[in-house]
Amino acid sequence: RTQTIPIREMDDEQLLELSRDKLFLNLEEMRAIQDYFRASGRDPTDCELETIAQTWSEHCVHKTFKARLIVNGEEKTPLLKRLQQATAEISHPLVLSAFVDNSGVMEFYHGWAICGKVETHNSPSAIEPYGGAMTGSGGVFRDIMGTGQGARVIASTDMFCFAPPDTPREDIPPGCLHPHYLLRRVVAGVRDYGNRMGIPTNNGSVHFHRDFRAKPTVIVGAYGILPKDRCQKGKPRPGDLALVIGGRTGRDGIHGATFSSGEMTERTIEVNASAVQIGHPIEEKRMSDAILEAGAAGLIRAITDCGAGGFSSALGEMGAQTGVRVQLERAPLKYSGLKPWEIWVSESQERMVLAVAPENLERILEICRGFNVEATVLGEFTGDRRLVVTYQGETVCDLDMEFLHHGLPPRVMRASWQEPAGEEPALALPEDWATLYCRVMGHLNVCSKEPIVRMYDHGVQGSNALPPYGGTAGDAPNDAVLLTPLYGRREAVVISHGLNPVLNQIDPYYGSLWAAAEAAANAVAAGADPRETVLIDNFIWPFPDEESLGALDRAVDACVDFARATGMPFISGKDSLSSTYRTKDLVLKIPPVLCVSAFGRLPDVTKTASADFKRAGSILVLVGKRNPAEMGGSVYYDLAGYLGKNLPRVDLGTLPRVLAAVHRAIAAGKVLACHDISEGGLAACLAEMCFGGGMGARIDIPAGERPDFFLFNETAGCFVVELADGGGEDGGKAAEELFAGVPCLPIGATLPEQQIVVCQEGKELFRVDLNELKEAWKKPMLKVFG
């Protein structure tokens, strides 16, 4: 049963031993706990220690993002504050709630609001990929369901980073799973949760890099719609009942919050197997139906999901301002034999906690019964600002909310950043262009991911207005997803994202700018209005030692600079700072990842664009500023065996004008097709547009440009646009008028032939068959998913 831990007597070594593998707190934090109980004149219960460890876990409280930060000897504003300040300064008129609720909320149309949240589930996915990915999806859906007084989930997104599927077995560190297995199982997990719950999964990407072999990055996002008048986070009042609904509590998912805050070691997979939960999408679906009905009837005062930290986190946070008294023996269990602290911190899935006024209890119970959803009153909100948990009459936890939520010793963290030494290779011009082009298309970070997408139901809910893959053969990728969530209406939601871990290894500032620019450009390529688009950040970083923290500091600066320059605020975000693998003889830092997600609203879905070429003979223009020599981190370099140093530096002075101009052109109906440039550069972008149109293209590389750089430069925020009018002589003029004031270059035209023809100074450099390119582009994932 409940044990008392004699913490008051412990020396430092004993404190650390107590923390190891279980609490994941550092010595200073352990001492703060010791001090609290010395002052209280008693020792803590196991339940109390678990509550504190969970509440203070990096996963839940984001210590690093809130820490006082000394960068290269100078104090800078804490990371989270920087992001929040930028959002406050932008003061976007459509933002209804930022950083305070389970997701960020912006205004939609006709009295509706839309919300978005993106989460990581790296640690569980590393040791049990199917369960980890499933519960990642389930958890982020509940974040949406628990926004305001309850939202309906309308979309799911997934972004993964793995080591290449053909990584040799012996290269995988001890205790880690092979990427071929991880990739297949993670995809299966996302598939089975989203499909069964009826959430369209329609935006995502997969990135490969050798250094993810110790731990994958698994990012899952969700978006929702809710009535604007019920979109603010609710607050429980003293006397309100704490109602838990949904699944039962079991021993699955013990220590999820704390373990995922630790580094990965060769022991993680054995010691922390129970930290992974089991997903049950049907339970979550019926719970969602019940919540929507209860919300519509005005019966929900406040709602939050039971995610990391279980009841401890949900009730501890919900009751932070009031206090809460919980009778733990009331919690419905999957099976008997759980210790009270296990019930308290279990992260069993598909549970949510609601604050309900006593007079509404009967009605809400009846709704839950109607949907076969179990609902149990676990306790009530009080006014004493204490977190009191009893189990069969015995007090197992009695903590001061003030200490619990504000007793964590503030961290002062040191960061330093030095430009890595990288070198720029001197590459000769390629000889066999066609083969090179095919190799670029077949690179893991360029190749088609269609076999994955086909396993996700992206059309459920009947809202899709721009699918992940379209075009004549249904196999050409689009840049973003467009949804029309209000049946029979044209108002649309746009969702996109961007990330490029490789660039962060060269310079996290420009790598992060790239990610944000890519997210915005993807949305705009589909027709989004940059003035009505907002952002979500996800930092997946190695354990914050001085060097990694220095890199993180630069990444946050990039986000802030991007937000200020474009006026797109970050309204939700999450960090996961445990991407380090450590054993006695091996330390592996997983490449830092910043994933930026973008979502926004559009008044008319018919004024948008897809990426597939529409007709032969159209003029093609390249819109956006790029310096083709900035080839660092490109697929082209990678194929030659180099990383390089001179990476793409997105120009924040130009980018906002480019985004605005492309949006205007699409909204005015002047654009037949639009695709943004990313991995694989202009060449990959063009090929994909050709695949979609079932037609070829001719490209004229300007005199003086290095043709390989011109074709394969990957600067984000640049677009290839197929124009509706102005073929032939007038082409250049039409483009100039349309894109006045922004960098714009006519680069060629679409062709009826199934070929891409590349010329320079009137001479043909090479030509390549679309079939060859397409085969190379499809091969890698067909090999994995067959």
């Binding site: 499909n195 049907i282 139901d457 459920v460 009947g462």
Partner: protein, 257 residues
């Protein structure tokens, strides 16, 4: 009077809202009805003119796709169903709803409890979400009046959609086949991915001998607006989105009955 449509839902139903929207657009007066309400007698099937069983994963598709809901319908609601059928009212089962109708025996033979066909795992061994072309046969189906000989574009999204029946049954139901997976030329095909699951005789949809009950794996409710088509920007649509006629026909049939 708008015909009243019962859009049935239960644990794991997830295409209910778009099915609702499609019937509303077609002129129906829809209610989302949880099966618990029918079992508790808070609602009666007899109060409705059309029954729609939407797609999803009813009860997680545990045991077999659609099996548990089929058992629930035939065990607890058999009388109401028999009465509904006897009254000559239309029933539409989409995707999981089709699987349910086959598992109850209502399709293909309109005989509750006599299961003579199945929708089994796709030949590809996985969930497939893609658009397909359907050739509409000249079947006595009230949902496809005026569509015979035409090709429809609709999406499929399922893991268990391969129509399977013994040779005799296949022969017997030949005249009840409503939709077949086809190439763009309209010719039925066994080629993947045009036939996305390997269905025997390319069967994608089927009616009962009276033509009042239709079950199909593709999702007509996902193509009742032009912008739902993946390539709506490429084509100039004349006429309606391809899924809408199925709902309109049901509503019209009830109005004229």
């Amino acid at each position: 009077m708008k015909p009243k449509v019962c859009v049935l839902r239960t644990d794991g139903t997830n295409c209910d809202l778009e099915t609702f929207a499609a019937f509303e657009k077609a002129g129906g007066d829809c209610r989302l009805v949880h099966i618990n309400r029918l079992r508790n007698k808070e609602e009666k099937l007899a109060d409705y003119q059309i029954l729609a069983i939407p797609g999803g994963f009813s009860y997680g598709d545990d045991v077999h796709a659609g099996k548990i809901l089929a058992v629930e319908l035939t065990s607890f609601l058999q009388e109401q169903l028999v009465e509904f059928l006897a009254a000559g009212k239309p029933i539409l089962g989409i995707c999981n709803g089709f699987q349910v109708l086959v598992r109850t025996g209502i399709l293909p033979d309109r005989k509750i409890g006599e299961v003579s066909a199945a929708l089994v795992g796709n030949d590809s061994g996985r969930f497939e979400c893609r658009w397909v072309t359907l050739f509409t046969e000249n079947a006595p189906c009230i949902f496809t009046e005026g569509l015979a000989g035409k090709c429809l574009n609709l999406p499929v999204a399922h893991a268990e959609g391969k129509f399977y029946a013994g040779p005799e049954t296949l022969k017997k139901i030949a005249g009840q086949v409503v939709f077949r997976y086809a190439g763009e030329n309209g010719r039925p095909t066994q080629d993947y991915p045009l036939n996305p699951n390997g269905s025997l005789n390319a069967i994608a949809g089927l009616c009962d001998p009276t033509g009042l009950v239709l079950g199909l794996m593709p999702h007509p409710e996902r193509f009742v607006e032009h912008t739902q088509h993946p390539n709506w920007r490429r084509r100039d649509f004349v006429g309606e989105p391809h899924g809408l006629a199925i709902f309109r026909n049901a509503v019209r049939y009830v109005k004229n009955a």
